[in-house]
Symmetry: C2
Subunit: 247 residues, 2 copies
């Protein structure tokens, strides 16, 4: 259980944190140990130490949660904070105009990771969460990022598997490749019902001053004939963000 070089300690700590997610925000130590595949005694000792550093915290009912201190450490120096802070005023304006979920995503591994989401209480269903992920082939933000991604990544995604969320999700690699070319040509991705039949995702690229696509700006609106109307507002907001980005 113990190692001289400490590698394993770090690995176990990482496993503990990987257990938590948007659906799993608080756990008892034994359940945490089970999910992290650790002995209860080992997990218990590490949790105690991590609580001491504020990286984990305990509820009144003794359940363990992510510590506010860890969020603080990760957020204050996050490499994505400048992008997110630059984008926010434009996202607020876009959100006010469109009146539906507005989100900013970046490529992280083989998925889109959402840095921010502005929501409306009455808006359409949206599977996106802050710090949540969606697959590149199925979401509008993902398709935008994939369309401008390196050829190797495109090939890996096209090689599948391409999960179908609804009958409308594109799962044919040839058709998906054609779609990506269209997104590069048109400058936006419109995805009616690809993830949920009631919703249409629309996304556009956000470019750094050197032209590189660094993020996708998207909205999720009802799946109806009006969805396409939002494209100009999205493109204008993305251009505003790009103009404000300092490298």
């Amino acid at each position: 259980m113990k190692t001289a070089n400490g590698e394993s300690v770090l690995g176990r700590v990482v496993r503990i944190f990987e257990v938590f997610g948007s659906e799993v925000t608080a756990l008892g130590v034994s359940e945490l140990a089970r999910r992290a595949d650790l002995h209860v005694a080992t997990a218990s000792r590490l949790v105690e130490r991590l609580v001491g550093y504020g990286w984990l915290q305990r509820d009144e009912d003794r359940k363990v949660r992510i510590g506010v201190r860890l969020w603080e450490l990760a957020a204050r120096a996050s490499p994505t904070l400048p992008l997110r802070e630059t984008a926010m005023p434009f996202m607020e304006d876009l959100h006010a105009v469109v009146g539906h979920h507005t989100q900013l995503g970046v490529l992280e591994g083989d998925e889109v990771l959402f840095l921010e989401r502005l929501s409306s209480r009455k808006a359409v269903i949206n599977l996106t969460r802050i710090a949540g992920r969606l697959p590149l082939h199925a979401s509008s933000s993902g398709q935008v990022l994939l369309a401008f991604a390196p050829a190797e990544l495109q090939q890996r995604i096209l090689d599948g598997p391409l999960r179908a969320y609804t009958p409308a999700t594109p799962t044919d690699p040839k058709k998906l490749r054609t779609r990506l070319a269209a997104i590069r040509r048109d400058g936006y991705a419109l995805c009616p019902g690809y993830i949920d039949e009631a919703a249409t995702g629309i996304a556009v690229p956000v470019r750094a001053p050197d032209g590189e696509v660094v993020a996708a700006l998207g909205v999720v609106v009802p799946n109806d004939a009006n969805a396409r109307m939002q494209v100009p507002a999205l493109r204008a907001a993305a251009l505003g963000i790009s103009r404000s980005l300092i490298r």
Copy 2:
């Protein structure tokens, strides 16, 4: 340098992350080692492992940064995310009406930690940053949180030291105690020039359904006679957040 129980490894990892902040977002390994008080070889080995887990990442120029993966892990299950997500629509509306920095802070240790800040490009100076901190005695959000904090914490803060940012910063414990009573009575803190002479901070408490103060909602406006006009909009927004909070 190595320990059998791994305690020290975890302590070193924590020291590495503590080095990063809003002013220090990227560092070479030797500088990182120096600031974390570690041997370069030790730091180098740990950085390598942390890069492998995505908790740190390397720039093109080999500098080390906080990894997007760590932000993701900390943010997706953060205990403060529900509060922040509930508050955001109200904060957006408040921001649109007030036209100046709008922020949400919570009590963390002996300071206020800001979970969110909505900024305007043309707005007045503001020392607040997302995941940044300010002292309880000098900031409007801090004074609100302090006014409703347990007596022990109030006493500890009043015992000082109470740093003066400007000649207007309250540093007399007796006067500060009177101020806290006034904040409890009036339901808001108005802090003209306490942190920067050009700015006035105004904050109000956000209460959970059980009445407990869980956050402070604040704005930072120019230090002039109009500042007090923002109080009703702030109070209405805070009531809206409280009504939407589910325990």
